[in-house]
Amino acid sequence: MRFSDTTIGAVFLLAGILLAWYSFNLPTIPGQDYGAATFPILIAIGFVGCSLRLLFAGIRRGNEPWIFLSDEIKSPRALAGVAATLLLVLFYIFFAQVIGFIPTAFIVTFAMFLLLKVRPGKAALLAGLAAFACDFIFRTMLLVPLPFGMVPRLPW
């Protein structure tokens, strides 16, 4: 998915203006002229400068479509794949704490394998291995507190 220079310029011009407006409203350090707002305002000025340059270049180039869609994006299967990947990560974010790391990791990996057309038997085996290997490496060896959820504490 590609946007034209005009679109990018317009979006970041808006972002720059919003950032500046937000920064002006930040509280100051009592008795000081400079504080939390100084740096973001400078960034906002930078955003506005760059986006004006892009807008200028885009407008000079003439009539460009606002957005170019590549062939890959136009394929519904590919788009569904991307949506599914994002949903799987969201699933992990919302459910890992409740269900526990191992089942969530298994579901995410297994679904990804199926999405990329790996045979279900192989996918289940690999997903199981990956979940247990990650649990062993990160929780047991590197002491990362991966959530247990509903799964009882493993002996290692």
Binding site: V89, Y92, V108, F113, P145
Partner: protein, 502 residues
């Protein structure tokens, strides 16, 4: 001489050797896992060092951090997922070399020049530590401000794309860096009411998202097409060493010096060193167009620089107890626990221990070559696995890595958001490197800018009225003049060429 012999005696014990090798292997492993950094590897070692002799304890940390910084290059080259932030600077080059079937060239350069960079930094540490630390300690906020600004200027040299888009990427990075409470005024900024965002946006999940998740998304979109071109075998990594040393000795030297300087300055670590030296390399290269397309020149300079900075970060740490980066911050704690209190007295009261540590630096950088070779041999099997099998595994690994950065699911959310952002940026020709640079340097820049402004009550002359600050300011101005001249010249040259063709 007597002291050096004593130091040899301290190092040449089975105990120290075994510890160094075990710590090296641990460092290689942690460095190669995306999301776990050299700092984290060092932190994980600390509890173990309580049970070690002083030399073995410090040696373990030295070996572990040096290996971790190098090992980050391996997943970067094979999968385009930098294992540590320091490898992110030249990930495009090493990855594209692998795609072209020249993985041995890229990885060989990483091993050799990491080791040489580390050795150079060690030599500087041994011979010049006290005098260099003397200069570094004179730096105050205006000097750091100019240094940070010089670092940001590198963003201009990094990509080949439109300068406006490169700068846009830099500003995105700076905005990300200004999220949270961690600013001179201590005011929560851009947190949108979220408690987790008060701590700011952690660099590690951003990096995992921007590099790895965007790659996963791209694979899902293309349904695994691009992979088959990458040849599965990695040739002899030692094969090109002679040629590389002969061709790129200047780059090696420059990378060593840049890395050492960045390392000595407190607050900037291996990641800044890698970015700055990659940009410097591109600026002075005869073939800047090739950078980012699988060209080994920048890899040579940047991988030498990040390991050099690692050793030289110990200069202020040992001489004054001021950490040069996050790793030495942990090291200082360990030094105190082991009764080796950092400071000038360290060199007077028990010089043999400190020389033993220096010897371990040399040892660690030498064993990096065989251990690195073994790890490359082992991990090249990844290239044999089909992308359909690899990508789901990478996804789950990234999720855990992002989680591990602050042990909260917040990291995974950040990773997901930046995965999409990274994908969109690359699709639109907005380079990623300046954004990462902005996140790394942003906090240093802001702190020193605001501090100087408050100190001087807004008088801008205070930024340049100290001798070192003025010197850096002059360098900064000269660099910008050369950039602007080259911007004006390039379109003219293109126009002239177009006319000639007509």
């Amino acid at each position: 001489m007597d002291v050096i012999l004593q130091a040899f005696g301290l190092v040449a014990t089975g105990n120290v050797f075994l510890t160094v090798i075990a710590a090296s292997m641990f460092g290689l492993f942690v460095g190669a896992v995306p999301g776990l950094t050299a700092t984290m590897a060092t932190a994980l070692l600390v509890p173990l060092t309580f049970f070690m002799e002083p030399v073995a304890a410090v040696g373990a940390i030295v070996a572990c951090s040096a290996m971790a910084i190098f090992a980050g290059d391996i997943p970067a080259a094979l999968l385009r997922i930098p294992g540590t932030p320091a490898s992110a600077a030249y990930v495009d080059d090493t990855y594209k070399l692998t795609q072209k079937g020249q993985a041995e060239l890229g990885l060989g350069a990483c091993v050799l020049f990491s080791a040489l960079g580390g050795l150079f930094g060690t030599i500087v540490l041994i011979f010049a530590a006290p005098s260099l630390a003397e200069i570094a300690i004179k730096f105050s906020s205006p000097e750091y401000f100019w240094i940070a600004l010089l670092g940001l200027t590198c963003a201009v040299f990094m990509g080949d794309s439109n300068p406006a888009k490169g700068l846009l990427s830099l500003f995105i990075g700076l905005t990300i860096a200004s999220v949270g409470l961690n600013n001179p005024a201590g005011v929560p900024r851009l947190t949108f009411g979220s408690t987790e965002m008060l701590a700011g946006i952690d660099f590690i999940p951003v990096m995992i998202g921007i590099f790895a998740i965007s790659e996963v998304l791209r694979t899902v979109l293309s349904q695994g097409k691009a992979w088959d071109r990458a040849p599965a075998a990695i040739g002899n990594i030692f094969k090109d060493w002679g040629v590389m040393l002969k061709t790129y000795w200047r780059q090696l030297l420059r990378g060593n010096v840049t890395g050492t300087i960045v390392g000595i300055l407190p607050g900037a670590g291996a990641d800044v060193a890698a970015y700055v030296s990659y940009a410097v390399s591109r600026r002075f290269s005869k073939e800047p167009k090739k950078y980012g397309t699988g060209h080994v020149e920048g890899v040579v300079e940047a991988s030498a620089a990040n390991n050099a900075s690692l050793s030289s970060a110990w200069v202020p740490a040992l001489v004054f107890g001021i950490p040069g980066d996050t790793i030495t911050a942990i090291v200082i704690g360990v030094l105190y626990v082991k009764g080796m209190n950092p400071g000038p007295t360290l060199f007077i009261f028990n010089p043999q221990t400190i020389y033993a540590v220096f010897l371990i630096f040399i040892l660690a950088n030498l064993i990096m070559i065989p251990l690195g070779w073994a790890l490359i041999k082992f991990s090249k099997n990844i290239l044999r696995v089909s992308k359909a099998v690899l990508m789901p595994l990478i996804l789950i690994f990234c999720i855990v890595g992002a989680f591990a950065s602050n042990n909260a699911v917040y990291g995974v959310t950040i990773m997901l958001i930046f995965g999409v952002v990274g994908y969109l940026m690359e699709e639109n020709g907005i380079p990623i490197a300046p954004c990462v640079l902005g996140i790394v340097i942003g906090p240093i820049l802001e702190k020193n800018l605001t501090t100087t402004l408050i100190k001087s009550q807004g008088n801008l002359m205070d930024f340049v009225n100290r001798p070192i600050a003025f010197g850096i300011f002059v360098v900064f101005c000269l660099i910008w003049v050369s950039i602007i001249v080259s911007w004006i010249r390039t379109p003219r040259q293109t126009e002239e060429m177009a006319k000639r063709e007509i």
